[in-house]
Symmetry: C2
Subunit: 375 residues, 2 copies
């Protein structure tokens, strides 16, 4: 039962990065594209704006006709109302802003200040010429892109297909599953289309779930350890390839990586929830983020902060260390995952990952904190 | 047509903060609670763990029986396998880790090192005693909370009801709506349950849409200006209360705020997309975030960065200034929203909001940048 030395976290990450590339492109309605990743750059079909447009609400004029206008010499001009964004009416070349004008009755208005040609006009093509890139390959579409693309008349965009994630949870006999909903939420956050199933905790049961249905990645939860009812590694060996079993993560050291056929990645995650979550974030989530074309790093914003008390970690494994914010740019460690399970993570404002080669950080040092949303 | 001086952004924000409070609580399945905001703290019903549990995979023993064990004096003990997280079997008080033991046949294993009572045991109540807070009021639930709560047997949590947002877009006659999908994506990002409708750009048409159906907040897009076909403010006056019209935002100066009855907030957003989006982010989005119990600030992560070129802004309005990252902690301004519309926002990595009292920031100064996700 003496296990081989585990792979380093870097080795496991390199395996994931080699095995997981962005999936193919699919057309997606721009209306419903929030959060999707562009598989290719999107370019303007036509100039933006297409024609000269009013830049403000007001009255379109020929600038030459406003020469000499002043409060002492108001000029009556034809009232041709234009709203900001509307094309300029024919034979006009400037806009008198609404607040600089008074209606004068009989379809006329009074102009009290001259304008020059082009004043308050948004010239055709000034935002983009045909063929200009409106959104780059790899962009994660958000409201500003949707507004720009819809405005440019682009109703469909090429998006990286969302990874199909099958979560197979194999809790011990007579034990309620504690991980499925947690990992489903994490995989959905990372852009996965998630299906969750519960498998028999037997070699055959897990092997069956590994190959049932179609998925780009299967996450098996539980049964990764060396115990008598731990069948995940054997099940993967029988259904496909177990490339790597045992990674120097604390918690999460019994993680495994492999694949079924050419197209389906498999990540084996430990049953104890802290190791399951940390193994997910560092390895399984990375694979899902890569498949979906996202940046592979953990999705939490990073911030350099000071530690108010030393962070202790044993050499030999990358360790998840929950921290709590004690001042704007200062954190202190919380009890470890090993001592307090998910309680520390839930009570924390973020976490520090201490590399395997480090014993931690002394009080007052600067560390990179992964901050939870809303913290 | 001379407009009154607009309200300051701070005045408008104060109005929103007074008018919008977190909605009532509703029970939500913990399984499906990702992203929801807790309306109350969730406490442990029972101790966690409920009983002493194994902290590692191994064999449960009575510590007293391991006294004297060594590689030179292996002791054969009954093989009582336990997995990490399982309750300790009766009459055992320590765990010999799997890697420190060898099976010895006939239901026995060889112990080569003594253990003390409590070694590798996770004591009952060590994570939480009954009544301990597992997740605080206001927490935004994410995978770690879901894992902790499911593990604690809590299947339903009290969450702030998601705000029902009705978006009423009233594009000019014969003009395609350019804003609805953009603002729907933003409101969904902020936790809203969004319904999008297109209204006739008439006073009656908008007034009808304001009162049709049930919503916690209605966003009317378009028709906020002083032009002849701008009916949003009049429609709100006739259907309810227009509290404020005109806010010193650039773009977005024609924003309006009000309500219908006691329960429904209304935000009027300008039709030109840049002002529509900025008005949304600063005011309408703030209201939605507050109604849903979220932090009211803009949802983009903040970072102090250096400006490589000066940012210019005219005094008198809070201005949205798109910026692009040119080095890890350095940004430069992009053409303004006024000059380039949403193109600058889409091409940028974030934005700076220059307050109404400032003319901008000189080259080399430090500014607070709102960073877009993925930048």
């Amino acid at each position: 039962m003496i296990a081989p030395p585990p792979a380093t976290a870097d080795t496991a990450i390199a395996w994931i990065d080699h095995a997981a590339s962005p999936l193919d492109s699919e057309p997606v309605s721009t209306d419903a594209s929030a959060g999707r990743i562009l598989a290719d750059a999107v370019r303007a079909d036509a100039a933006i704006p297409l024609a000269d447009c009013a830049a403000v609400d007001g009255f379109a004029v020929r600038a030459a006709e406003t020469v000499g206008a002043s409060p002492y010499n108001p000029l009556a001009l034809p009232l041709i109302a234009v709203a900001a964004g509307e094309p300029m009416p024919v034979q006009t070349d400037a806009v008198v802003a609404l607040e600089m004008a008074e209606p004068a009755g009989a379809g006329m208005f009074e102009c009290v200040e001259p304008v020059a040609p082009g004043d308050n006009v948004w010239p055709a093509g000034s935002v983009a010429m045909p063929g200009a890139v409106l959104a780059v390959k790899g962009a994660r579409l958000d409201p500003r892109h949707i507004g720009l693309l819809i405005g440019a008349g682009i109703s469909v965009v090429p998006a990286v297909r969302r990874p199909r994630v099958r979560i197979v949870t194999a809790p011990p006999h007579r034990v309620r599953d504690r991980n499925g909903a947690m990992i489903r939420a994490a995989a959905a956050r990372d852009g996965g289309l998630v299906e969750l199933t519960v498998a028999d905790r037997t070699r055959a049961g897990i092997a069956h779930s590994l190959t049932a249905g179609q998925a780009d990645i299967v996450l098996v939860i539980g049964g990764t350890g060396p115990g008598a009812d731990d069948h995940a590694a054997d099940a993967l060996r029988s259904a496909g390839e177990l490339a790597l079993h045992g990674v120097a993560l604390r918690p999460g050291g019994t993680v495994g990586l492999g694949r079924i056929g050419r197209a389906t990645l498999v990540v084996l995650l430990p049953g104890p929830p802290p190791g399951c979550l940390f193994g997910y974030e560092v390895l399984a989530g990375r694979a899902i983020r890569r498949l979906g074309g996202r940046h592979p790093r953990l999705p939490h914003p990073l911030r350099a902060m000071t530690v108010a008390r030393k962070i202790v970690s044993a050499i030999g494994a990358s360790e998840f260390c929950p921290v709590r914010r004690v001042a704007d740019d200062t954190v202190e460690p919380l009890p470890s995952f090993a001592a307090a399970g998910l309680m520390s993570a839930a009570a924390g404002d973020g976490f520090v990952i201490v590399p395997a080669t480090s014993e931690g950080y002394p009080e007052g040092s600067t560390v990179t904190v992964h901050l939870y949303e809303g913290s």
